[in-house]
């Protein structure tokens, strides 16, 4: 990650000047709006499809080159695209990203592990992170996500993905929960199930937010701070009491800070740190529209109109106008994807994370083993999707030191 430092300096200069001196280090590629979930918190599946072809992605990634470090392949449900491994392979060949992140609903329990394995094979030098969505336990998950049997399938997918961990050292398996008004009261149960039964490499949570991309504007799905705070602080307490190792110590410290930012954003209704969306992060819609972020989802231009040249699309008058608007604080949001890049580019946040990591490192050296370890994942639990809340047999639960 040290290679990011000069990049961060360039991006901060770009923010100050209001025009890009470098391409974003964080790119989200939405490969399709198609989705086989019908979540109560998302309407993206209703959007018409005009997806980029593999050839169009080839040209686009060639134009981006090595500038981007962190790629997220999202949707819709990204794994519905049979050519997802080929798309990722094209990104890997042209851009060599350090991190490739893929969220999934886990419904296609046969196809998803197979496609992810292919991705792990074609991107051996990237850290590939797959986050399985989990918005409830058992039937509650199905109800929130609008698909009967989704939970059982997701657990089968989880087991299939978990089996890949022994063979691919570049693979991180995570679980991702969106906290909305529909499930905020269930979060404690979800958290306990993930922590005690699934034991993923990471558990992340995002607050349900109104986004133009997802067509959730005006829906009121975001829980109020009074209900969100106890849920997320339970997770934060878990992070603070756990013992992490190596890079996990840094990522968990950033995660803890992120959850603080979410709470402040809900209360203060403003950008609590400068937002570098449109400078440090960007999103490409399935049809080639380039956005500064998915919250506003305003196109700065379409790659098809610029001969698939990302830089040309990224330097339009419209892009500069959106950068001005974002910098002026005309919008705010708790979007996780942009927030992590914003934190990396925000010196006070990086300094606080550094202090936190140093403090934890010293504490671990002085009193090893006092906290529960979550860094090393124990032997893979055998998930029986037939009886979700109870029937998980794991070789090791609890402390996995």
């Amino acid at each position: 990650m040290l290679e990011l430092l000069p990049k961060v300096a360039k991006l901060r200069a770009s923010y100050a000047l209001g025009r890009p001196l470098a391409l974003p280090m964080n790119l989200t590629i939405s490969v399709s709006y198609r989705c086989n979930s019908r979540c109560k918190t998302c309407n993206v599946w209703q959007r018409p499809n005009d997806d980029f072809t593999l050839e169009e992605y080839e040209k686009t990634f060639a134009s981006i080159g090595r500038d981007a470090y962190w790629f997220t392949f999202s949707g819709g449900e990204p794994t519905l695209r049979k050519d997802l491994p080929e798309i990722v392979e094209a990104a890997y060949r042209h851009c060599q990203p350090g991190i490739i992140n893929i969220p999934t609903n886990g419904i296609q329990d046969q196809a998803i592990p197979a496609r992810i394995e292919r991705i792990l094979q074609v991107a051996p030098k990237s850290d590939v992170i797959v986050n399985l969505s989990l918005d409830g336990i058992g039937e509650k998950h199905d109800i929130v996500r609008g698909v009967k049997g989704n939970f059982k399938r997701a657990m089968r997918t989880y087991a299939g993905l978990r089996a890949l961990k022994d063979r691919y050292k570049n693979f991180t398996l995570g679980v991702h929960t969106v906290i909305s008004n529909f499930n905020v009261d269930d979060f404690e149960q979800i958290h306990a199930y993930v922590r005690d039964q699934l034991q993923p490499d990471s558990f992340i949570s995002e607050i349900a937010e109104e986004r133009v991309e997802l067509d959730t504007v005006g829906m009121g799905i975001t829980p109020p701070i009074e209900r969100y705070r106890p849920a997320i602080e339970q997770l934060q307490t878990g992070i603070r009491n756990a013992e992490f190792h190596n890079v996990s110590r840094v990522t968990q410290a950033f995660r803890d800070r992120y959850y603080d930012f979410v709470k402040r954003t809900l209360v203060e209704k403003r950008q609590v740190i400068p937002c570098l969306a449109g400078v440090a992060s960007a999103q490409i819609a399935p049809n080639g529209d380039v956005w500064t972020c998915c919250i506003r989802a305003e196109s700065v231009g379409n790659l098809r109109d610029h001969d698939y040249d990302f830089r040309a699309t990224w330097t339009t008058v419209k892009a500069n106008e959106l950068r001005r608007s974002i910098k002026a604080g005309e919008c705010y949001c708790p979007l996780a994807n942009a927030a992590y890049t914003n934190m990396l580019c925000h010196t006070p946040t990086v300094a606080r994370v550094a202090v936190d990591v140093a403090r934890r490192t010293v504490a671990a050296a002085v009193a090893p083993g006092r906290r529960g370890s979550v860094a090393g994942v124990g032997a893979a639990p055998v998930v029986d999707p037939g009886d979700p809340p109870a029937r998980v047999e794991a070789a090791s639960f609890g402390n996995r030191e």
């Binding site: 599946w45 959007r47 609008g146 009967k148 133009v212 009121g220 109020p224 009074e226 305003e298 919008c331």
Partner: protein
């Protein structure tokens, strides 16, 4: 005309979003009542306080139609009835 379940505005029958509050009309006919009840139970206004920049942006950039098959389903069964054809969890 179709009334928005959230704000009551009379919209054209084929709109994707309510012209005033911007809520997705298909979603509103499936889930608005449930969410409004959840919000009221914790003493929140049933109608959310969506930031104005989101309402403005949505009006400006999201006038597009829904995917064709959903539009046809809504035309055939109505906003409420379409839910049973679209989600395996619809009552």
């Amino acid at each position: 005309m179709t009334e928005c379940p959230q704000c009551g505005l009379a919209n054209e029958n084929d709109v994707k979003n309510c012209c005033r509050c911007r809520v997705n009309m298909y979603w509103a006919y499936q889930h608005y009542q449930e969410l409004a009840s959840l919000r009221e139970a914790v003493r929140l206004d049933p109608q959310p306080e969506t930031p104005s920049f989101l309402i403005d942006t949505s009006k400006r950039v999201d006038e597009g139609p829904a995917v064709g098959w959903l539009r046809s389903t809504i035309l055939k069964f109505g906003f409420k009835g379409a839910g049973k054809k679209v989600s395996t969890m619809a009552e």
